[in-house]
Amino acid sequence: MQLALWTYEGPPHVGAMRIAASMRDVHCVLHAPQGDTYADLLFTMIERHDRRPPVTYTTFQARDLGGDTADLVKTAVAEAFARFAPKAMLVGESCTAELIQDQSGALAQSMALPVPVVPLELPAYSKKENWGAAETLYRLVRTLLAGRAPAPGAARPARSGGRGPTANLLGATALGFRARDDVVEIGRLLAELGIGVNAVVPLGATADDIRRLPEADFNVDLYPEVSRATATWLERAFGMPYTRTIPMGVRGTREFVAEAAALAGVDPAPVLARERPGAAGLSASQSRLAWYARSVDSTYLTGKRVFVFGDATHAIAAARVAAEEIGFSVVGLGTYAREFARDVREAAKRYGVEALVTDDYLEVERAIAAAAPELVLGTQMERHIAKRQGIACAVISAPLHVQDVPARYSPVYGFEGANVLFDSWVHPLVMGLEEHLLAMFREDFEFHDAAAASHLATSGAAAARAPAPAAPAWTAEGERELAKIPFFVRAKARRNTERFAAERGLATITVDTLYEAKAHYGR
């Protein structure tokens, strides 16, 4: 039994719903009690879907338990099939139905519907949402491609001639972070390379799109949390290679271009040559990040402390962009995606930090407080943590809230995605010149603590500071000196000084302690 206050991931059947809700002609039946219908609002409210997710629930009640709950499954499947005429059906159970063991999937299969029925096993007491999405996609793809794989050892059948190389984009789903725009951006990028998109799966896909997957030359494993299982199976069964690079940031995108070009047998040089690092904003370069980062006014971004947390894919890529492309210092890196913990641990080593692998929100909050970053790149949960601690924040990963689904085109993958990252990470920070002015004129009444940087809509509510147990006491002069430090670094100065004093067993903090600590932590 594990105490959960807020969770990063829903149960695995919500992952199954994300696959169904991404597709156009697949319907999902869930054996679940009425309260589980709450999950519809994730799609219709957070992502503003204009149709209900294609999901039917049996909504069994306690009084049904003595009788035939299995009958409810059959009725629900039959009615859903008759009403929605899907081309394939997913049948699964939520946590409660798993316990009553009605074998919903097998029951539905026994109904001999004229469309493929995919029984789902979604262990609700050990697995979570992303696993459920990955498993559902994998099962659906396997079912729809059953009997189509060449015999083991046999050569892969030649692609139909007369057309250029193509790729499938795998893993984009409803409620995936910026997935809607990423597939457009990556599709454009591939088109510039002369590579067509054979199918995007599952976002916007039909069952027939899945049947066409083997016609492509290779797969793009866009969101490994969801698509890695499918990509590896397609490689095993159909000999289709898949990309390993995540096209996030300028460097990630350039590497992706090279990798995709190699898999397709095309020349990446024309695309790469146009995207020259340092190319001016008025050049043909689509990516402005490299030039903006070199622009002198960005100097103030140097070494800003950033804490990164999210799913593994976005967290690893974001840390790399932060360090290599913007010049931040990564002071924390973590993920809630245990399945990919190893990759995150490896990445963390590059920044000399210990990876934080947890789905305990309070633990993340403590780690952020301890790292005292100036910017948090996280999920909507970290947005709340950062707000409480008065730290700037940008969202880089699911779970999302409604404001993370912007109306405008805002991919985070590809060259345009890199531009979006630069803007959305730099915007929450106090800008360079402004930072100097604030420091120089900190006694000016307009620069008092409550006045936020002028380009920020609201001042981050000052975080209530819980004193550490047996925290050293500040002397009056110490406090006065602390008050002279600009407000946006004051919380950090306070924490560092207290830590410094505590570690040295000092009972009081004087002006000297403050400056000794500053020298100690100074970069």
Partner: protein, 428 residues
Amino acid sequence: MTDLSALPPASALPGCGSAAPVLRERGQREVFCGLTSIVWLHRKMQDAFFLVVGSRTCAHLLQSAAGVMIFAEPRFGTAVLTDRDLAGLADANEELDRVCVALLERRPDIGTLFLVGSCPSEVIKLDLAKAAERLNARLFPRVRVVNFSGSGIETTFTQGEDNALRAMVPLLPQTQAKQLLVVGCLADVVEDQLRRHFAALGIDPVAFFPGRRAAALPGVGPGTLVLAAQPFDGETVRALAGRGARPIASPYPFGAEGTTAWLAAAARAWGVAPERLREVTAPLAARAAKAVARHRDRLAGKRLFVLPDSQLEIPLARFLAREMGMALVEVGTPYLDRQMVAAELALLPAGVTLSEGQHLERQLDRVRAARPDLTVCGLGLANPLEAEGLATKWSIELVFTPIHGYDQAADLAEVFARPLERRARLAV
């Protein structure tokens, strides 16, 4: 517009026998489970913690229903069952005790711990009553542990509140004193207003259940008059009656008419002189009627379809029909507790279609066929219906905003007028 003499006295209201025919449906129910009640109950009772014993689904539901997270450590959480707990029940009991004790150690501010049953805990027959007993033996009187069910197989949405309050009834101290006990979770601002009204009527003492602290329990006994402020607290009212209290039948305090009728029912039962009642309520009712009139233009003559969800459907439909002049196409309710809504049913216009339970797809077919001007529904349905060109109001707002009493009557009207007002403004 609220002429009290036009209302039949509550005691003379017909029972269910005379009510309109009801369309009973079985099929997919698109409603929250009782766990959702925790979202407002924990705000009301500031010394209470609600620990759901359930699954990741339950935790996810609570988080999704709570919407925006504001609290680092909210006063609710989920003890998530894992494979290990399912392997052997003894283990699960020990685990639960461990989680509770650890939680209470970290939260010394908590005086009442609610153990909330969920579908999984009930299906595996994890006995939360026993667990509460065990924990009480260990923790009482510093902390009192109470258990109730919020599971989706037993409860719908607001029924969670009913179960929580019902579970507290045996704990209420016995009293012989004459008092009025108002039942139902109300926003503090509403509670304060109603207190002032009762004081003006000379009704004193008045207790509210639940109060702002779970530990401050009101008394109950033969001198207690019970006035329900929420139509979904039926089991609680019946349990209080079982403790000797006398329930007062009344419409609910929604709108000027409903609030007057509600205060009138209390006044009659208490023995307040009719002139005093009129003196106190007439100016308040007039003020409320004036405030709601602003929204009447927007709503009058508009056709309303109410999908089942919060169990507030019948009283709200009565308000919208009688005070706002809306035409009722269909009023759905998750279940019909005739005893609790008898006075409301009597006020509904003749010929209204009531439906109980739900077959979602068939009901949506009826919505599409009727094309109402406004559809009240859950969050999962609102945007899809809007996309079909139908104006909607999500019902969850009705349990998260103060809507009871005279001074909230206009806010209540506005909740329904706003979607129409918005459509009128938008030119895209």
